[in-house]
Structures are given as C-alpha cells and as structure tokens.
Symmetry: C2
Subunit: 281 residues, 2 copies
C-alpha cells in the first residue's frame, strides 16, 4: 500500500516522520477519517471543512490548500486501486523543539493512509455491545469540538470496553451526562422520535451524526436532542452509534442488558447506504 507524506507517495513502510515531530512527541495535531466508496471520499467537503476549522484553532498552517489535498487524496486511492476503503488524514505541527512551546516549529506534516474495509459490508455490521466507560470527558471542554490527535482518553476507553468483552465505550462528562462514544456519536429511538445528545454537549461534531440528522429530516422522522444519562438511555430502544469509517452501527447490548431493537434503525441505515451510493457513484 502507498501512503501520502508531505507531497510524496511512498510505500507505507517508508512513510516515516522524525521523532521530534510534535504529533509524535505531544499529540500536537489533527486527523480525519473518511469512508471511501467508488474511489470517492463520502462527505469530503464536511471533513475538509472540519480539518480547516481545527487547523485554524490549533494555528497549524495547512501545507496545501483544500483543493490540492483533494487531488492528492484521489491520486492515493487511484494508485492503490482501492476504491472501497477508509482513508485517514493526519496533520501535525511538524518538527519542533522539546517542550510545549510551538515557537520555532518546522513545516507541518501531512499524512494520508488508506485502509481496507472490515470484511463485512458496513451496512451489515454485527451489532455492538456497549459499556459505560469509567473515563470522563471534561464538561464543556472547548477542545472536545476539535478532532486533535491527543486521543489517549479514547484509546483507554476503547481498551476498557474490550477488556470487559464489549465493542465500544460510552463516555460521560464530569457531570455524569452522556457525551459520545470512544469512536463515534450516540443515537436512540424514543417512542416515535430519533434522539441524540444536544449538539452543545455532544463532543466532536460528527459528520455521520449530521448525515443522520439530514436523513431524519428527509424521511420526516421527528428528532429529539437532549441531555441524557446512562440510566435514561437504558429506557430507550434502537440505540445506535454513528462514525465515518463504519457508518451506522446498531447497539445490541448496553452495560450487559439487551437493547430493544427498533425498525427505525434499519430504515436509517438503509437511507445512509443509499445516500453513500448516490453521492459516490
């Protein structure tokens, strides 16, 4: 597989960064994960806009403009002959000195790598088991809206889920209300409405979360954004997770209890697959 690194296409094994790259030393960077279908990144503009917002927040200068990045991305997919894939883009502040100060940094580092899709069709994903993580997100943290590469909390929450035999972990803030999962956003069905966490409290503004809200409007499904605790989520049916790599992932169990299924989840997952086809083919 070829990787993209700072304007060049290299065999993945040769794509290396100096040990003084601030991404490696301090998690001083950003990333985006995109679903590639038919050689095109789904919702590319939304991902690139989020990247540009993050770069502005972190004051990292994008080494290429978004149009150029888009061209490199298309080339990477083409060169690897992998039209169905997941693409990860990483942007870091580049090489720098020891310590936190971002003064005197070199040029930013831009990496893109392509990854095979999990064996099954994403639309047919095995439902996940979800547990509540013991790790907590800082309530109202401004950084929660930025997809930085300082992701140790998410790594540990996912590891905690796996240790407990589960697939994914639900993250609460320090007030005990639900924010997101280690790798996605959370939805549920509450009587007739599709529920999700209030945008202001929902952590990272997920691109797939926005797609689901769009689908609900198109299908005329009522939406209900709210503050919710794990106890309240336990009363809901049709819980599902959204993320860019895998799309819509139904939740089978939450903290060991089965989640009652809802036909609405299949409806939304089908609409998502249709949209993906429509926009990428």
């Amino acid at each position: 597989m070829l990787a993209f690194l700072n304007g060049k296409f290299l065999p993945e094994a040769e794509a290396v960064v100096p040990v003084n790259d601030r991404g490696f030393m301090l998690g001083d960077g950003l990333f985006e994960t995109m679903r590639v279908a038919n050689g095109k990144a789904f919702r590319l503009t939304a991902h690139l806009e989020r990247l540009a917002r993050g770069a502005e927040f972190l004051k990292i200068h994008l080494p290429f403009d978004l149009k150029e990045i888009q061209k490199f991305m298309a080339l990477l997919i083409e060169k690897n002959r992998l039209p169905e894939a997941v693409l990860r883009l990483t942007l870091t502040r580049g090489s720098g000195g020891r310590g936190y100060s971002a003064k005197n940094c070199g040029s930013p580092t831009l990496v893109m790598t392509l990854h095979r899709l999990p064996p099954a069709d994403p639309g047919e994903l095995r439902p996940w088991s979800l547990i509540t993580s013991s790790h907590k997100i800082s309530a109202g943290d401004r950084l929660a809206n930025i997809k930085t590469s300082s992701k140790i909390l998410n790594v540990l929450a996912r590891a905690e889920a796996e240790e407990r035999g589960a697939d994914e972990a639900l993250l609460l803030d320090s007030n005990g209300t639900i924010v997101e999962t280690a790798g996605g956003n959370i939805f549920w069905i509450d009587r007739d409405a599709v529920g999700t966490v209030l945008t202001e409290l929902s952590g990272l503004p997920g691109i797939t979360r926005a797609v689901v809200m769009e689908i609900c409007r198109t299908l005329g499904l009522a939406m209900n954004q709210r503050v919710i605790t794990p106890e309240q989520l336990r009363q809901m049916e049709g819980v599902f997770i959204t993320q860019s790599a895998l799309g819509i992932i139904p939740v089978a169990t939450f903290d060991g209890q089965p989640v009652p299924p809802s036909p609405r989840v299949r409806l939304i997952a089908n609409a998502y697959d249709q949209l993906l086809q429509q926009e990428c083919f």
Copy 2:
C-alpha cells in the same frame, strides 16, 4: 546529536518512526523529561518509576527493563559528550492499525533525545510572567496523574500564554480551582508556610514538586497543601513554578500584576541547586 531509538544510537535526523506509530496517530504514549547534570539524570529513579507506573496504567510493555534503559541513557549522554543537558524519553505503543483499538499493535517504541540547556544557568532563570489559561482540566480526571503524550491541552495553554506576551499558563479544573501550569507545578509563600496544591488535585505528580517538599522538610519550613483559586493565589507572595527541565522558576507577574517576592524562594532554589550538585557530582 545522536538519538536513541529502540536499542540503537542514530544521528537525530535518521531517528524516525513509521506514520502508523500510535504515538504519532493518537498520542498513545508516555514521556519523561529529566535534568542531566555531570552526565547523570537527576532523580532518575523517581522518573523511571513514574514511567513504569504509566506504562502499567496504559498497558504498554516496556521493551527494556529499567536497568537497561538506565545504561542506554548513560551511553547517550556519553556519546553526545553533553554532561549538562535535558533528556527526553518517549515510550509509545508502537505501530498499530487505524482506529482506537490497541489490539494487534507491534512492539512499543522507545526514544531518548538529548537537548542543550537554555543559555543561562537554571539557578539564575529570568522570573516568568504567568497568566490564567482559558483551557480547563477535567476535575478529578484519573489520566491527569499519568504523563501521557496526549498533550494538546498543555500546548494550547502555553501558546495562549505566549500570545498574551507571557511565559507560562496556569491551568484550572472545571470547578475553577488551580491544578498546575502547562509545564509544571505551582507553589507560593503564605506568611511563613510554603504552599502548594493538594496532591489529589495537583495534576501530574511532579518529581521536582516532590524535591521541593523534601527540601522544606529538611529546612524545617512549614508546608501548606490546599485547594486554591486564582483570586486566592493573587494574595500570596513568592509564587514559583517547579519543573524537571528548569528546576525552580520564580514568577514575577501573575495575570499582569506583580507578585511580591519572598526570600524563601531563593532559599529553596539554592537548596535545590545544592541537592542537584550533591546527587549528580
């Protein structure tokens, strides 16, 4: 300058890691920063113990035992002929697949780099100007005790200080009480006592913080650990910051107001320099 990378000594420019190193992708690692004097790392055992505790918490297997790391460290200092320096040690989970799961990772990555001391004698550091950061640490976050390489919050807090013409940023938790600074721990003089943040609330358990507490016991200075807000800190004199690279750094101004100096700070800084000489020479 030579760097140490996974058992080898390489010119720094050749010390590179794959772009799929989890340290680079997700800040999935740990680090330690040590003051090297007379070719010896000051309080080495404390640093290595904290590293080992962190590695256990993150479930990263140390690729060498602590005795071997110590030998490599001595060799690095010797080979570079830099007996007065700052040494950074970075340990990451190594290469891994896309996504948060730490399953199927390769061998951990261990890096050590040596850095020149700032021009002035650390004992004679220019006092710093300190501001209160707008970034918040999650109150009671278990991860706050682990020196992970997911340090974007500290990077942004330091950048905020520099933008406001200051040297360092004070970090509060979401309850508004002081935790630490972007790169160290905070102390002050309160009448006759040396004050610092309660251990349970003080974020990272600083090695230099522990040294200062030891010095206070030796000198017979009263200690006062407490919960403190920026408003309360403003009433104190002799505010100073502790960190492993630079030692004791007096604070000249806090949020633009001059901090009344205290002779106790010089007393503690001198005792720190003596201890460093005593243990390393």
